[in-house]
């Protein structure tokens, strides 16, 4: 059995039954899942979690399902790398990479939210799932939906990179490329969701779907030995991931999984689409929508629905926000790969480049511990690196040609 009590409006606190609905009928505020934390606290502790299989369902009492999980048994519990080479490069004492680039099965954190959304959609009795996506979500719904035996409609902006389109269409969903940007796709989908009885994971299933992001936060705490980091840097598109990671930290504190919660939360965006960070920097609650213009397409949401709450979390925790140029984020992708052997997509470059700036101007204390959330794999956004990588050494198939090249490389190896 589950521990969900109700849905509650985040704005006016009106409560609703557990149904596929997502906004308050009275004030249009977003609905959020409310749990019976006393009940969860009685049955869930560190040892109970540690005994379970290493996937995202090890925190199942804190996820909004009533029955058994249906999909995602190999998703979650991704590595938390202690990034000593990168720490040295940035000049900080303790740095960790939460590495969702290796998430099963579609190489981004979206497999977390989709596993929860599809399990909930099946509980509600839907036979068709749908989503509006700029890429990673489309991949995850296409793949996990196939495994769940669900019919799939996936809506994407037509301008997406070809590699991201291929990585969805291969699973044979109904892939609909809309002539417009992500915000146009979203608006169209919310109108389609009005008309068709489908489980739109990021619309009518959204209150449940979004809760899946908490598993990233729980894992960070567990992997740090049930301790919260001093700082966490999180990429923002809609702002949902940031608010849910913070929620997971607060829940862990509430039910006694961690003893203290000193964490400052930092938001990272690309300068070409930074409505949340702009509001944080200006010290205002008002999120002004923008027209996105950045290579970090996975973060290109110009009208972020959770932006207000993401800003509130940053203020509450004494954190901050930083935005970075396309050149800075590309440099950070290369830095992460060259120091830690992790190839992040453009969003990961945004997060690391923002971390670097936050360290340089002292907003992140060099003597504290920091977790950088890397949410997707670089193989998905290779186009962004075109013209920005080191030169390949081309040679003839003979030793002389090789040694010609070797003269130009600082090479300290012994010759036999």
């Amino acid at each position: 059995m589950g521990y969900v009590k109700a849905l509650r409006c985040r704005e006016c606190s009106r409560e609703y039954p557990v149904e596929p609905i997502y906004v308050c009928e009275f004030c249009f505020g977003p609905l959020e899942v409310v749990y019976d934390y006393e009940g969860i606290g009685r049955v869930l502790d560190r040892r109970r979690i540690e005994e379970r299989p290493k996937n995202l369902w090890r925190y199942r009492e804190l996820l909004p399902i009533d029955g058994e999980p249906r999909v995602g048994f190999n998703s979650g519990f991704t590595p938390l790398l202690k990034a000593d080479n990168l720490a040295k490069a940035l000049g900080v004492r303790e740095l960790y990479i939460k590495d969702d680039t290796v998430m099963h099965p579609t190489l981004s954190f979206k497999d977390r939210v989709v596993s929860v959304a599809l399990t909930k959609a099946l509980e509600f009795g839907f036979d068709t799932v749908a989503c509006a996506s700029t890429g990673n979500l489309a991949h995850s719904v296409s793949a996990l939906g196939a495994r769940s035996g669900l019919k799939r409609f996936v809506f994407i902006p037509a301008s997406l990179e070809q590699s991201k389109i291929t990585a969805s269409i291969v699973y044979s969903p109904n892939l609909i490329a809309v002539d417009g940007n992500y915000d146009d796709v979203n608006r169209l989908c919310s109108e389609i969701a009005n008309k068709y009885k489908w489980a739109f994971v990021n619309i009518n299933i959204r209150p449940y779907y979004a809760e899946g992001s908490k598993t990233l936060g729980f894992e960070v705490l567990e992997q740090l030995g049930w301790k919260a980091p001093d700082n966490v840097v999180i990429p923002c598109a809609s702002g949902s991931l940031l608010t849910k990671i913070w929620k997971s930290f607060k829940e862990a504190k509430m039910i006694g999984l961690i003893d203290a919660l000193p964490t400052k939360v930092f938001a990272a965006q690309a300068t070409g689409c930074s409505p949340i960070v702009a509001a944080i920097k200006k010290g205002t609650e008002v999120i002004r929508p923008v027209k996105p213009d950045t290579v970090a397409k996975s973060l290109a949401i110009g009208n972020p629905a959770d932006g207000y709450y993401a800003g509130a979390v940053v203020r509450e925790t004494g954190g901050g926000g930083e935005d970075v140029s396309d050149i800075e984020l590309i440099g950070a992708i290369k830095l992460l790969a060259a120091t830690e052997g992790v190839f992040a997509e453009t969003a990961g470059g945004v997060t690391l480049a923002a971390t670097k700036k936050l360290v340089e101007d002292g907003r992140i204390d060099r003597d504290s511990s920091t977790v950088v959330c890397i949410t997707g794999n670089g193989l998905k956004t290779q186009e962004a690196l075109a013209g920005h990588t080191a030169t390949v050494h081309r040679i003839k198939p003979n030793l002389a040609s090789f040694e010609d090249v070797l003269k130009g490389i600082s090479h300290k190896g012994e010759v036999m």
């Binding site: 700029t134 972020p304 629905a305």
Partner: protein, 92 residues
């Protein structure tokens, strides 16, 4: 000719199940007022003190009114106005 207004599901209880209604042209905020006369309760749900609520997006011919003149955006004969709740997620 008139203005066509698309009504999202959460508001259709107020419009008697209608997904589309017609109204006279005018500024966005005046249209909200006119809708409220026809379907009492709409205005308090999507606006507060003459301002559109934070979690409500209004589009005139597919353009967010925040990029136009906000509540004072003029809506002409033949234009379409969509009321859409803000939705999150779908990031990446």
């Amino acid at each position: 000719m008139s203005v066509k207004v698309r009504i999202p599901t959460p508001l259709q209880r107020v419009t008697g199940g209608k997904a589309e209604v017609e109204t006279a042209p005018g500024k966005v905020i005046d249209i909200v007022g006119a809708l409220d006369k026809a379907f009492p309760g709409i205005a308090e749900r999507i606006s507060e003190g003459g301002k559109i609520r934070r979690f409500v997006n209004i589009y005139v011919n597919e353009e967010d009114i925040r990029f136009l003149q906000g509540e004072n955006t003029a809506v002409k004969d033949g234009d379409e106005l969509s009321i859409v709740p803000a939705i999150a997620g779908g990031r990446q």
